[in-house]
């Protein structure tokens, strides 16, 4: 390990500083390792046999097996529930992006009392916990016959994520200079054509950031599908994992593969879209 501190090594006492810097790097790596250790442990344990784990939980595996995964796969009806989760997440993402960006355009360009009021109303939603609306939403969904339907859950997710989308898009559109749009207006281009030909293409980077954020929220959520989807055929991965597996009675060799299967699609996305995911997760920090 070498020290990477800036030009300090030439200063008097640089050797000592170099040493402490190197020591810090080692500590830093160890600290980070501590954070991923539970992951590594989970992966290794899920590949061992139950008897092997019981003999020595921390030992090295005698032999590796994929049986645990196939068992967990059927126990949480992984195929079906993954499709359900994908469908719900995908639809919600599309609707949030489309109607969120449409609404953000006038909110970003009009500076009047009513538009700031509408904007504030949307932002208000960012601090409302789902719990506050879950009971009245249940009654509403029951009255609209939307309980146990994909549509109901998608509408709820859309409403829950619109505030973030509106915030994202409005602040982004405000940074786009209005010249292009004025030129387009002079050429007889209406707001709709202007939006789709000029604004929308510029929104691509902010959309990918927003989408990773929204995707994570929806994919990982338990409460909404738990409350609004009772039909076993429509349940999501998280709900199935939660309802079929009791972590306190189940062997780690069942528990861990189930946990990994639930995470798997997101980890795949993470590997491919690493930069967007990091930006999307720091989404909340955009305000500063």
């Amino acid at each position: 390990m070498t020290s990477d501190t800036t030009a300090t090594s030439t200063a008097p006492g640089g050797g000592l500083r170099r040493l402490t810097g190197g020591l810090g790097t080692v500590l830093l790596c160890l600290g980070t390792l501590l954070f991923v250790l539970p992951f590594l442990f989970t992966v290794v344990t899920s590949l061992r046999t139950a008897a092997d784990v019981a003999r020595s939980p921390l030992g090295f595996p005698d032999s590796l097996t994929l049986k645990n995964f196939s068992h967990a796969f059927s126990q949480i009806h992984y195929g079906r529930s993954t499709l359900n989760t994908l469908l719900i997440t995908g639809l919600s993402c599309v609707i949030v992006t489309v109607i969120g960006s449409l609404a953000a355009y006038p909110l970003a360009r009009i500076t009047q009392h009513w538009s700031t009021a509408v904007y504030r109303l949307f932002i208000l939603g960012t601090s409302v916990p789902v719990f506050v609306v879950v009971a009245p939403l249940y009654l509403l969904m029951r009255d609209l016959n939307l309980l146990d339907t994909y549509a109901g859950v998608v509408l709820i997710y859309t409403a829950l994520n619109l505030p973030v989308a509106v915030f994202f898009y409005t602040s982004f559109i405000r940074t786009i200079p209005g010249d292009l749009e004025e030129a387009a207006a002079l050429d007889g281009c209406g707001p709709f054509r202007t939006f789709f030909t000029i604004i929308l293409p510029l929104l691509r980077p902010v959309t990918s950031t927003l989408l990773t954020f929204v995707c994570l929220q929806i994919w990982n959520d338990l409460l909404v599908p738990l409350v609004f989807l009772q039909d076993p055929d429509k349940r999501t991965v998280m709900v199935n994992a939660y309802s079929f597996i009791d972590p306190h009675t189940v062997q780690p060799t069942t528990l861990f593969p189930a946990a990994l299967l639930g995470v798997l699609p997101l980890l795949v996305i993470f590997v491919f879209f690493q930069r967007q995911v990091v930006a999307g997760m720091s989404a909340g920090a955009v305000k500063s």
Binding site: T2, D4, T5, T6, A7, G21, G24, L28, C29, F35, P38, F41, P57, L58, I95, L102, A103, Y105, P106, I110, V118, L121, S127, P129, V130, F131, V132, V133, V134, A135, P136, Y138, L139, L140, L155, I156, A159, L162, P163, P191, F192, N220, L222, L223, M238, H248, P252, L255, F256, G262, V263, L266, L267, F270, V277, V278, M281, S282, A285, S288
Partner: protein, 290 residues
């Protein structure tokens, strides 16, 4: 672009306003109304005013859930941001490992709380990972039933939350570090400000906006924690990890006390809004003073 074009404006705004209004604002308003009735979730309900709220005062479950929620939030906010800051300040000085380690640290935040709770429920189990590690290094005396002891359960649940989101706090602090003006840092270097002095007099003030964001986000997040206590302990042992959200969930969907549960959710909303806006405006005031 939108001069005198009310119809176009409406077309842009309408879809979002309809969905948001119907499935967010309307339920919010109806929730506040329901909390002032004796509704059981059916069509019949009588207006009872503040009765639900008044009966909370005599309900020890409410005061203890409120206390657990706030204690949990304080522990998470302090430890998570402390660790995140420590990691960020160390990573900033080590450009070679910076990117890799910060991404690695962020991975726990990717997984769902249910999955994190699965992993940790085994690590915390009496014969599980943590106790086995303690045995391995000869600290058998520290073995503990982490989730089964009323004195450690809440902190153990908080530890899972901290494990998940430390990388997130770190990423926000690190972004703030990276945007610091290099001239300022170089000038400090020339003046011989190093180590703690450099951190306290230069970096810490510049980190103020990131601190505001981090504290506010983690505060809101931990006040509305649900999956961790639900999966890890289900509120137990003896109610030691019963949070406001769990109480809302049980009352609303557990049968019999629907309106009471709704009233509790309004209490949750007020708690979140009051604490988070008070904290963030205090921190913003501090930003301006620095």
């Amino acid at each position: 672009m939108f001069h005198r074009r009310r119809a176009t404006m409406a077309a842009f705004l309408l879809p979002a306003i309809v969905v948001y209004g119907a499935f967010m604002l309307y339920p919010l308003a109806r929730g506040v109304y329901l909390s002032m009735t004796d509704s059981l979730g059916g069509p019949m309900a009588n207006f009872v005013g503040t009765e639900q709220y008044r009966s909370m005062a005599d309900d020890p479950a409410v005061t203890s859930a409120l206390w657990h929620t706030v204690l949990y939030a304080v522990v998470v906010v302090v430890v998570q941001n402390g660790l995140g800051l420590l990691f960020a300040s160390m990573l900033f000085r080590r450009p070679k490992v910076r990117k890799t380690l910060s991404v690695v640290l962020l991975t726990p935040a990717l997984i769902s709380p249910v999955m994190a709770a699965f992993i940790w429920s085994y690590l915390f189990a009496p014969t599980g990972g943590i106790n086995a590690v303690l045995d391995l290094v000869g600290l058998h005396s520290l073995n503990h039933v982490w989730l089964g002891d009323t004195s450690t359960a809440l902190y153990s649940v908080a530890a899972v939350n901290i494990w998940m989101f430390t990388g997130y706090s770190c990423a926000i602090f690190l972004a703030s570090y990276m945007s610091m003006p290099t001239e300022l840092l170089e000038a400090a270097e020339l003046d011989g400000a190093r180590g703690w002095r450099r951190f306290a007099s230069i970096e810490w003030p510049l980190l103020a906006p990131a601190l505001t964001v981090n504290v506010t986000l983690s505060l809101i997040g931990s006040l509305k924690v649900f999956e961790f206590p639900l999966v890890l302990t289900n509120g137990g042992p003896a109610g030691a990890t019963e949070t406001l959200t769990l109480l809302v969930y049980r009352n609303v969907f557990g049968g019999g006390k629907f309106a009471y549960g709704v009233a509790l959710s309004v209490v949750l909303l007020v708690t979140v809004v009051v604490l988070s806006s008070a904290t963030s405006s205090l921190l913003r005031l501090r930003e301006r003073r620095i």
